[in-house]
């Protein structure tokens, strides 16, 4: 039975006391807690099967390779990707985006090319493009926000010029929790033959994502936001790109033959995975996917949306609170401020009550500028959070507001 109680029992850290209060962990968009199955899968790997993978002639190496490749398949099937080779292990979303930008800069990107991003991108989906642009006279074009802080996709088409090559966009805003209308983005991208890169760091933990049907060129996410360990993520690419994308990160394991003069690279995912991968990380990631499958990703979405709507409603009743990106359809995140108070003060005092929220710019400084604030207070939810926790949070938030007045 997937009651919240049963689920919480799988996360021992939730029983911790913080500053003499029960931990209320609302910082899930930064990183989520891990169920004990995931931690045990990592342990198990090291106690029973640790070896370097691929090419190994001995038993442990074969076992480790099988566990690793099976993990790839588990993840592929979670995203409904038939050819698991399209799932390339990275060390996280940021790593995936950097590698991708570098590979694209050796193929489709030329001097003067233009990339379209959105106002609410995470720095990890801005800086790699910006760095490329600075060295190549490239340009970043930005999709603006509407009044309600959602993306103004009506303006997208105007940004496109003959030099536009790529739209790289967050599937879900990490600061606001708003969901990007990908169907709309795709419609326009197809019309102009643009490549779509989808930053799924904040969507993959919360929503059913069917990459076969979504039909974007690239998709990235991080395990540590999906009940998995740190140091592992994936870069998905379409079949076409799996064949065509030039490598940008190379080393042991990616090759068929090497001489100092010339190198013939492998096919498939191996081509993009130089060096010893994060084997225990991949195994932990797959175990996290199994956890998610058992709970059901649509149940997760529903549970978190209930919390979001409840929280938005409660906050709406506090006159001192300004909310950002309010919407009935969000992925587990709310963002707000207390009028005339610094988010850091609010966050510090909530922490005293055991409540973990994130405050600051959330690595979205350009968005902060548009929202005209230095930072916000962000509460982000996971499957184990409860309405009781939210009630406690609202109660203490009121207290904090009084203290700061």
């Amino acid at each position: 039975m997937n009651t919240t109680e049963n689920i919480r029992a799988q996360f021992p850290i939730l029983n911790k006391q913080i500053n003499n209060n029960a931990l209320v962990y609302f910082d899930n968009a930064a990183t989520v807690q891990k169920p004990k199955q995931v931690i045990e899968a990592i342990e198990n790997y090291y106690y029973n099967s640790n070896a370097n993978i691929h090419r190994g002639v001995h038993t442990l190496s074969r076992v480790a390779t099988e566990l690793f490749e099976q993990s790839r398949k588990t993840i592929a099937s979670f995203f409904n990707v038939k050819n698991s080779q399209q799932i390339i292990f990275t060390s996280g979303t940021t790593d995936g985006l950097n590698t991708l930008v570098q590979s694209l800069s050796k193929s489709v990107l030329q001097k003067n090319s233009e990339i379209i991003l959105s106002t609410y991108e995470h720095h990890s989906n801005i800086l790699p493009w910006q760095l490329w642009a600075q060295h190549n006279n490239g340009k970043l074009k930005i999709i603006p926000l509407k009044e309600n802080h959602s993306l103004d996709l009506e303006k997208l088409e105007q940004l496109i010029t003959p030099n536009t090559k790529i739209i790289s966009i967050a599937h879900v805003s990490n600061t606001l929790g708003l969901i990007t209308n990908i169907e709309k983005v795709k419609e326009i991208a197809k019309k102009y033959n643009l490549i779509i890169v989808l930053d799924g760091a904040q969507s993959a933990p919360h929503m059913k994502i069917d990459l076969e049907n979504l039909d974007v060129d690239f998709f990235v996410c991080s395990a540590h936001k999906m009940y998995g360990p740190t140091g592992i993520g994936i870069l998905y690419m379409s079949e076409k790109w799996l064949q065509e994308l030039p490598v940008s990160k190379v080393g042991g394991g990616t090759i068929k033959t090497v001489s100092f003069e010339k190198t013939e690279y492998e096919q498939g995912a191996l081509r993009f995975e130089p060096g010893t991968p994060n084997i225990s990380g991949a195994i932990g990631f797959a175990e996290a996917i199994k956890f998610t499958n058992i709970v059901g990703i649509t149940s997760i979405y529903k549970h978190e949306l209930d919390l979001v709507n409840y929280a938005q409603k409660q906050l709406n009743e506090l006159p001192e609170v300004i909310q950002y990106g309010v919407s009935k359809e969000k992925a587990g995140v709310i963002s707000f401020n207390v009028k005339n108070q610094h988010p850091f003060d609010v966050g510090s005092l909530l922490d005293k009550y055991g409540i973990a929220v994130r405050t600051g710019h959330h690595c979205t400084q350009p968005l902060m500028k548009v929202l005209n604030t230095q930072g916000t207070i962000r509460a982000s939810f996971a499957i184990y959070n409860t309405k009781q926790e939210l009630n406690y949070f609202i109660e203490k938030l009121k207290k904090v507001i009084t203290m700061l007045k």
């Binding site: 691929h54 090419r55 002639v57 038993t59 074969r62 390779t65 099988e66 490749e69 068929k256």
Partner: protein
């Protein structure tokens, strides 16, 4: 003999060794040594199947509606495994080969040599043999 009968014969041969893997492997090595050599002119790049560690050469011909395989490998255990598979498939019709299940591999306990992650070319060899058979059935001459 048809494929199933040869499989049965091989299983019986290996049953004699019981749990003694050393004798089992000596038998495989022997079979490798006795594998009729592929003609030098057929040891071409076109006929090579690269595994991660050892290479296999395989040549296919059709004679009186039956498929004739000759093969070689630079590793003797691989070559022994190749010899077993050639023994099963040699002189069979393309139809039978393309339908064959090859259950004997699990039974004689050599699964580790055919696990998908042990990229030693054996799996690709079987796949190639079946593909060649299919191509012949479809009247294609392409045996790549």
């Amino acid at each position: 003999m048809n494929i199933e009968e040869i499989e049965k014969e091989i299983i019986e041969e290996f049953e004699l060794f019981g749990d003694n893997w050393e004798e089992k492997y000596e038998h495989i090595i022997d079979m490798g040594k006795n594998l009729p050599k592929i003609a030098d002119e057929n040891k071409t790049d076109k006929n090579i199947i690269t595994g991660c560690q050892s290479r296999v050469w395989l040549n296919t011909e059709l004679k009186n509606g039956k498929m004739i395989f000759t093969a070689d490998s630079d590793a003797i255990i691989t070559k022994g495994m190749v010899a077993i598979i050639v023994r099963v498939f040699n002189n069979q019709t393309p139809q039978d080969i393309s339908n064959a299940q090859l259950n004997f591999i699990n039974v004689i306990g050599l699964k580790e040599h055919l696990s998908p992650t042990r990229a030693n070319g054996l799996l690709s060899m079987i796949r190639r043999m079946k593909q060649d058979a299919k191509n012949l059935m479809n009247g294609s001459n392409n045996n790549n």
